[in-house]
Amino acid sequence: MNNVFSYIIVMALVTYLIRALPLTLIRKEIKSRFIKSFLHYVPYATLAAMTFPAILHATDYVVSSVMGFIVALILALNKKSLLTVAGAACAVAFVVEIFLH
């Protein structure tokens, strides 16, 4: 069994280096158009891959997860804040699960 703290330290180091190296070392703009484009799309690809299909099993019932997902999509398309989108998704799932019981 690996120590939980060594996991925490390892990931903290990796994450900090990712943030600190560009801020301290790169003073010029990146020239490669491919790398710039790749980095531009990375957050969208990563977060989308993390969200779906995992979101279907985020709650105890697929139905409440799907309803929460739909509401979050609609609110996000209307540019609602992070707090609103996350809160509303949870609230909708909660209401749906009340009806399931």
Partner: protein, 252 residues
């Protein structure tokens, strides 16, 4: 930190690092982030207690990492007692976007700004803090960044502690629903841009589709969730970079 002498050296420091007013502005601007982080990190705290992490371990994770997607994905690796290589690769790929943000932020700093301040700002490069920092008019002062960071991380750590503590005593149905918080936050970050960019819309749809294939297809489903995210990200982002390269003029 603050020089008491009114020497020209002190003035220069003040100019490049910002003032206490910048710090207060940062704190004020980060209040919505703080509230959002409270909700999401509360969910993280609950998830961490589910895999058997202590409250202290959960709090240290949040304090040292400050990365929602990275921390949630790490829980899976820790729970499975996965390899350090997988954890490192996963953090590298999931958090690679921070290096892009750090690069963009470096262009907004005073060129004479010392390394210590640069290291300080680095600690708090997250999607939300970056979003507020990059939209700030003119130069970015470290004091402003510190205000953003202190307020945001306060919410992030407090929520984690509350979630990790309450996880054990909260009704199961509420815990169940809070599992959606992190995904709600991801959706709030990526979906709005799909309206203004066709390319981003296709990236999001492709990544979700490919991730679904990797989750359920025979053989492919044997790949762990961490590597699944890494593979999908690299394939989709590289394809998008070839098919729809971003415009040369990149200072939006």
């Amino acid at each position: 930190m603050e020089s008491l002498s009114a020497s020209h050296y002190g003035d220069y420091e003040k100019m490049s690092a910002g003032t206490i007013k910048d710090f207060r502005d940062g704190c004020r601007d980060a209040i919505p982030i703080c509230l959002g982080y409270l909700a999401v990190s509360f969910a993280f705290g609950i998830e961490s207690s589910k895999i058997g992490m202590s409250v202290f371990q959960a709090i240290m994770t949040s304090l040292l990492n400050v990365t929602s997607a990275g921390q949630f994905s790490a829980l899976d690796v820790i729970a499975r007692n996965g390899s350090y290589i997988e954890l490192i690769m996963l953090q590298l790929i999931i958090n690679l976007r921070y290096s892009l943000m750090s690069t963009a932020l470096s262009q907004k700093l005073d060129t004479g700004l010392g390394t210590l301040h640069r290291l300080g700002i680095s600690y708090g490069v997250t999607d939300e803090i970056f979003g507020v920092s990059i939209l700030k008019q003119g130069n970015l002062y470290p004091m402003y960044s510190y205000g953003l960071i202190v307020t945001s991380v306060f919410g992030w750590v407090l929520g984690t502690g509350l979630g990790a503590t309450a996880g054990a005593v909260m009704p199961a149905r509420i815990i169940s629903c809070l599992g959606l918080a992190i995904y709600g936050m991801f959706i709030a970050i990526i979906i709005p841009d799909t309206k203004t960019s066709k390319a981003i819309m296709y990236v999001v749809i492709s990544a979700m589709t490919l991730s679904t294939v990797f989750t359920y297809a025979p053989l492919l489903k044997e790949i762990s969730s961490g590597f699944r995210i890494i593979i999908v990200t690299i394939v989709v982002a590289a394809a998008a970079a070839v098919i729809a390269p971003v415009k040369e003029e990149s200072h939006e």
